[in-house]
């Protein structure tokens, strides 16, 4: 607007020094100055008036001063002027009023006006100093407005805070230092059903806290007050429905500069659901623990290096170890059978690097000092890199199973023995023949020898030859008897390195006469490079004998083709030696193929039906299998495999 910036000022004119100073002062005053006479006519104005009001000096001279006022004030002004003239003084005009100037273009602007009477010869003139206060007014207004806004926002904040406090899902309190409630949010009232009056009473807690928790609260409050420290507790608070729920109580003190408590700010948070969840977890954990203690196994958790971290009750009960002993790393050394301990340590060492599960059977000593067999199983828990973090282990008592297995094994051995004896019974004539042959030879040779020695000129060479044959045949008879005794004996299973060709050859020798009697030609096709197997000679011979006898039986009614039995050995794939016995008999009914291994199933007249059942058990016990297949031509071929010895 009319900014009185210096550069816009007119340059001072050269005038008389005294005169000039005053004139300059008037002319270049930063305020607008108007000089009026007693009648209110303008007699002089300075340049600021020209600029502020938009008139030229010439236009204003002689005009009434009201010209510079808004029209609405013009009518009243001459009377004010009159009263001022009567009591002239230097004072602001229109004290307490808002004064406005009016520009030539009709626009208005706020002004402050100072009035000052000047005595001159012949009367009085008035000097009005007019200052444009637009800027100041605007600043004042702005200030006012901001003050108002501040006030409004403060109220809103308070309202919002209040709403917030009421809205938060906690009960919020302010207490006095002695826990007199000063404030409680709406939620407190809603939950407890207390009236605001009740809620503000000091015994409010006594009404709503569970008696057990109330006592604790009081103790805690006392202590908190004494040390002016926050406290926290969990307590049951009764709701309006009469049901208690768990809350987390938290009170924080507000202290003065001396550290004295002025206020307590408190919250109560509903933790009922969390509590219930916790309780469920606790219950479940307890159940799990009981379950772990109840299961009929010993259960362990080990560290990666097999330091026991946990052992269930059953472990302690069985071993009689104290929990402390059970948790020591040498616990196994105390209770494992020395032989098995070595194996366990070897296994643990091996699987530790591989991180693979392992399984073994071991004897563990119980409280009674007796060892029982257990099945040990450990499984690793591994981290993402595959490193072992934990071992989870179980030990299952398999003593009874072991005993049953042993009993079963013995029963099977007995049964095998019985059937072997029975088969040998069938072979009695053949076996007798095998013994009889060398004995016949011995008798004849003996007589022959005596003949050569008799008379006047004995033939010693021939006699020696006969004696040599006696020795040979005697040995042969002895061998046959030894084999028969071995087959008939009731030895316990004893596996060893075994050449199947030899074993089969011995069987073939025993059945040779049986073959002749049955009109069967027996061929052997033995692999020269047959690998040795790990087996029980007698049991495997029993299998061969059984298959050979079955083959002979299968061919007993065959008349129209040769009765041929071929026993073959070969190295099979997968570290097995295979023995096949092929006959040219009547073959097996495919429907019966499945049943032939059943105990007491027989197609033979007078047979007991144990042969194949036992043969299969024996073969399986040797890590092999036994099966039959129909030949392309007539007859059946039985195969069985035995694991090679390594």
């Amino acid at each position: 607007m009319n900014d009185p910036s210096p550069q816009k000022l007119q340059k001072p004119q050269k005038i008389e020094p005294t005169q000039t100073l005053f004139e300059n002062f008037f002319e270049f005053s930063p305020d607008a100055m108007v000089v009026t006479d007693e009648d209110g006519r303008i007699t002089n104005v300075n340049s600021q008036v020209e600029r502020a009001f938009g008139y030229t000096r010439a236009e204003l001279l002689g005009l009434r001063v009201e010209t510079l006022m808004p029209e609405r004030f013009r009518a009243a002004h001459p009377s004010y002027r009159g009263s001022y003239s009567a009591h002239p003084s230097v004072r602001p005009m229109g004290t307490g009023l808002e004064l406005h100037g009016r520009r030539k273009d009709g626009t208005e602007f706020p002004v402050d006006i100072m009035l000052s009477p000047v005595e001159i010869a012949g009367g009085q003139i008035f000097l009005s100093v007019i200052r444009d206060v637009s800027e100041r007014k605007r600043a004042e207004e702005a200030l006012l407005q901001s003050e108002q806004q501040l006030r409004m926002s403060k109220e809103q904040t308070e309202r919002e805070l209040r709403q917030l406090i009421d809205a938060i899902p906690q009960q919020v309190f302010v207490f006095g230092a002695d826990w007199t409630p000063l404030f409680a949010n709406r939620r407190e009232l809603e939950y407890t059903g207390l009236t605001p009056h009740e809620a503000q009473s000091k015994d409010a807690v006594a009404r709503i806290f569970h008696p057990e928790d109330l006592k604790k609260l009081e103790v805690l409050r006392e202590r908190a007050l004494a040390i002016a420290a926050p406290f926290e507790m969990e307590a049951r608070i009764r709701g309006r429905d009469g049901q208690y729920r768990w809350f987390l109580i938290r009170d924080n003190p507000l202290r003065d500069e001396q550290g004295r408590v002025l206020r307590w700010y408190g919250t109560r948070t509903d933790i009922e659901d969390r509590k219930r969840a916790e309780e469920r977890v606790r219950q479940r954990r307890e159940e799990l623990r009981q379950l772990i203690d109840a299961i009929p196994q010993q259960v362990f958790v080990f560290d990666a290096d097999w330091t026991p971290l946990f052992a269930n009750q059953r472990e302690l009960e069985y071993t009689g170890l104290t929990p402390h002993e059970a948790q020591s790393k040498d616990a196994v050394a105390r209770i494992f059978h020395p032989e098995d301990l070595k194996q366990l340590e070897g296994l643990r060492e091996r699987v530790l690097s591989e991180g693979t599960p392992f399984e073994m059977e071991a004897r563990i000593r119980g409280t009674d000092g007796q060892y029982r067999w257990f099945l040990i199983r450990d499984n690793p828990l591994r981290d993402e890199q595959g490193g072992v973090l934990r071992w989870y282990g179980t030990r299952t008592d398999i003593e009874d199973r072991k005993r049953a297995e042993q009993a079963l094994r013995k029963a099977q051995a007995d049964l095998a023995h019985v059937t072997r004896i029975m088969t040998m019974g069938e072979l009695a004539a053949s076996i007798a023949h095998e013994v009889n042959q060398p004995i016949s030879g011995i008798v004849i040779n003996g007589n022959t020898c005596l003949r050569w020695l008799a008379g006047d000129s004995p033939n010693l060479d021939e006699a020696r030859e006969a004696a040599r044959r006696i020795v040979r045949d005697g040995k042969r008879a002895g061998d046959v008897i030894a084999r028969i005794r071995a087959l008939a004996s009731k030895t316990v299973t004893a596996k060893g390195r075994l050449d199947m060709n030899d074993a089969i050859q011995e069987v073939v020798a025993l059945v040779r006469d049986e073959m002749r009697r049955s009109g069967v030609t027996l061929w052997t096709e033995f692999a020269d490079d047959l690998s040795p197997v790990l087996g029980d000679r007698v049991q495997l011979q029993q299998v061969v004998l059984n298959l050979v006898m079955n083959g002979v039986q299968a061919m007993s009614t065959v008349e129209e083709r040769p009765r041929e039995l071929v026993v073959r050995t070969q190295n099979d794939e997968a570290d097995q030696v295979r023995v096949t016995v092929r006959d040219s008999g009547i073959g097996l009914d495919p429907e019966k193929m499945e049943r032939i291994y059943d105990a007491f199933y027989t197609t033979k007249h007078g047979g007991m039906g144990m042969g194949l059942s036992i043969s299969r058990s024996i073969v399986q016990d040797h890590g092999g299998r036994l099966w039959a297949a129909a030949n392309d031509g007539p007859g059946t071929t039985f195969h069985f495999t035995v694991a090679k010895q390594h």
């Binding site: 004539a429 023949h433 009889n436 042959q437 060398p438 004995i439 016949s440 030879g441 011995i442 008798v443 004849i444 040779n445 007589n447 022959t448 003949r451 050569w452 021939e462 030859e465 006969a466 044959r469 040979r472 045949d473 042969r476 006469d513 073959m515 002749r516 009697r517 009109g519 030609t521």
Partner: protein, 207 residues
């Protein structure tokens, strides 16, 4: 003509028994040849000498009885002494019916076997002699003319010369001459001699 030495043939697949028998038979001064199977025996060229066969009843492939049958089939007449580990009666009967000379069950006394062998050889010798005689007679018979054979048939049937002459439509004199030739060629000393010869030759009067 002196007879060649007897040879005992032994067939037994059991080496103990086979060699023992060989030794035993040799110890009494007899020649012996041993075979482990019937096939081996059949494949071996036969020496023309008296003897006998000591045969194990139960042999692989071809049994003793089978071999006996086979030998009968090719008219190889040799006395057989069966030996067996199992003296089952039906087999023994079968063997004896088929002409076996002896059936011994192991273990047997060596004397029994040797006696049986000696008997068998003796029988073989006799049989061979008998066979030789028949062969001789047969050769003589073959030297007769057809007319002479007609006359011989009638002579040994007991017909008189007159009856023969009538049957053949010849004169009695002619018949007499033929009869003389027959007696001479057959080397028969008497009518009884000729009758015995004709019996051995199995000559019957054709009707």
């Amino acid at each position: 003509m002196p007879e060649p030495d007897a040879i005992v043939l032994v067939v037994d697949d059991d080496v103990s028994v086979r060699e023992a028998l060989g030794g035993l038979i040799r110890s009494v001064g007899l020649k012996v040849e041993t075979f482990a199977s019937a096939q081996e025996f059949l494949a071996h060229p036969r020496t023309d000498a008296p003897g006998c066969l000591v045969l194990d009843m139960r042999l692989p492939d071809l049994s003793g009885l089978d071999l006996q049958k086979r030998l009968a089939g090719i008219d190889l007449d040799i006395p057989i002494v069966f030996i067996t580990g199992h003296g089952d009666v039906p087999t023994a009967v079968q063997a004896m019916k088929a002409g076996a000379l002896e059936f011994l069950t192991k273990p047997f006394a060596d004397r029994d076997l040797l006696d049986a062998i000696r008997r068998a050889i003796k029988r073989d010798r006799a049989a061979r002699r008998h066979q030789a005689k028949i062969s001789e007679l047969h050769a003589r018979y073959q030297s007769l003319t057809p007319r002479e054979r007609e006359v011989m048939e009638r002579v040994v049937s007991g017909l008189l010369n007159k009856q023969i002459a009538a049957e053949l439509g010849k004169s009695v004199i002619t018949v007499k001459a033929h009869r003389g030739q027959v007696m001479h060629k057959m080397q028969a000393g008497s009518l009884a001699d000729l009758v015995r010869m004709s019996e051995m030759l199995g000559i019957r009067r054709a009707k």
